[in-house]
Amino acid sequence: MVSTAETLARPKCGAFDLTDVSVAYGDEVALSGVDLRIEPASVTALIGPSGCGKSTLLRCLNRMNDELGNVTVSGKIQLDGDDIYARDVDPVELRMRVGQVFQKPNPFPMSIYDNVAYGPRTHGVPKSEMDLLVEDSLRRAALWDEVRGHLKKHAFELSGGQQQRLCIARALATRPEVMLMDEPASALDPISTQQIEDTIAELKSDVTIVIVTHNMQQAARISDRTAFMLRESMERPAFLVEVGDTRTIFTNPSDKRTEAYITGRFG
């Protein structure tokens, strides 16, 4: 059986290598030719105008695209060197290693405790270690101080920001190597947004984070690396314009389209 030390041991942070990745919905290619390395133990921000395929690319990384039905992904995506689209990889197994937080907080209709324990229970973490794991996950999501002693409360009684941090804790409880976040703060007020950003900053030493955001300041504040994507017309698929150190991208981008987008945003 798994020991307590193992339960709470931080897994290594994952690194993604994408080579010539394209995605098509039916026969419409939405995204093509993406080459991208996502460094371990860092925050990578995906930015770009609406419809440029940020969510699409993110969903490739935990194969949530598979659930949409008519999506084909081509090219190569490796997680720590393993091809995640290889035939013997079960997406369910992959998703234990790559967690996701969604745009709208989506706690399950059950208690706070059961929400956090939901993933580990599936993965066979013994009952005796669950309390510890739940506490640890809630601490890492910076929610522990607000909910300790109320773990039996229904998750719907939390505020929107608390719910989102609960969802982060829920994803952390499965000990993922990578955490995907699709505009995790866009439905929240400024204070909750600040709390989420703080949480992300604390998390990144433990888990690789890929975050989609429309908020330039946010990307500049929290990310180490930034990738800028663009879809120039509906006829042509979206592509990755450039990727690099966040500071470089924001102060001295090599592509003028990046500059135009960023400066346009900054006003």
Binding site: E67, G69, G99, P109, Y118, T122, R170
Partner: protein
């Protein structure tokens, strides 16, 4: 602006007429809003008032009716005990639910969670078709097809038994159970589904641990409504259950459920007589039971609606 005073008068009087007309229409509409309450109350009042003669008769009365086991309207004194009919209703309904609940919920799970979109559309139309087939046609299938088949299968004395009627009723309860359960599962926000899948759960784990619990009140309501439909169904039991007055819990013998008693005897009684009134007591019993069952379903459904109306 040189509007003649006549035209002005004309216009203002037209406006007044329109206002008056609108007020009348508004009243009529509000009045119609009461129609459901009115009809439901009227049903209760008419059932009760017509049942009163039997209920207040010193030789009959509610207690004797609900405790007696023989129904002999022509004996002296007439006997109107109908426990055996209540039990018959339970036998038939029990069979129907034992079949329709597990199959219906399973089918709803498949249609909502597993079926490809195309199949989903087809399945829904088929279920609508099943719901639209008149009960007398189901009865016909029971008499000519299912009954004889079950008779051979279980070596029953007769093709017309509680079991046969129950099986046919199961087919009639299935569309109700499937469509309402499916609806409840479908209306669980898809973000929850996504959330569970993203945590490394299979579709089945997601269904079992998130979707079904979240939809549980809708599923419960579907079972209650299916139950209501089975208890209240008349033509199928009249044609297929075999009309035996015997008090028994056996499934493979004939039965005479409450609805069949009314349908079978109402045509032959003297209107306004004691027997006629006794049939209204049976009807009142049915009304109360189905009312409670539906009330339970409705209260639970309302709770579910409130839950997702965030």
């Amino acid at each position: 602006m040189s509007e003649s005073s006549e035209a002005k008068l004309d216009r203002s009087s037209r406006a007044a007429t329109r206002r008056a007309a609108e007020a009348v229409v508004g009243r009529l509409i509000s009045l119609s809003g009461w129609s459901a309450i009115a009809v439901l109350t009227a049903i209760a009042v008419f059932l009760a008032s017509n049942a009163w003669k039997a209920l207040s008769d010193p030789q009959v009365g509610l207690i004797r009716m609900l405790t007696g086991t023989s129904w002999y309207p022509t004996s002296t004194p007439p006997l109107y005990g109908f426990i055996q009919y209540i039990i018959a209703s339970l036998r038939v309904t029990g069979v129907a639910l034992a079949i329709a609940v597990p199959i219906g919920i399973a089918a709803a799970i498949y249609i909502s969670e597993f079926a490809p979109a195309r199949l989903k559309g087809i399945a829904k139309s088929v279920i609508e078709f099943m719901a639209a087939v008149p009960s007398v046609v189901y009865g016909l299938m029971g008499v000519y097809v299912l009954g004889p088949a079950l008779k051979d299968l279980f070596g029953m004395q007769s093709a017309l038994t509680a079991l046969s009627a129950g099986v046919v009723l199961a087919f009639m309860a299935l569309p109700t159970i499937i469509s309402i359960s499916e609806d409840a599962m479908h209306s669980v926000p898809s973000e929850l589904r996504q959330g569970s899948l993203a945590l490394g759960n299979t579709h089945w784990q997601t269904t079992r641990k998130v979707i079904v619990p979240a939809a549980s009140s809708g599923i419960f309501a579907s079972v209650m409504l299916g139950l209501g439909r089975a208890i209240g169904e008349t033509m199928v039991v009249l044609m297929v259950a075999g009309n035996s007055m015997e008090l028994t819990w056996s499934l493979t013998t004939s039965a005479r459920p409450l609805t069949a008693v009314i349908a079978g005897e109402m045509g032959e009684v003297v209107q306004g007589g004691l027997h006629y009134s006794a049939l209204f007591v049976v009807g009142l019993t049915l009304f109360v039971v189905t009312f409670l069952v539906n009330l339970a379903a409705d209260l639970v459904l309302e709770r579910q609606r409130a839950r997702w109306r965030r």
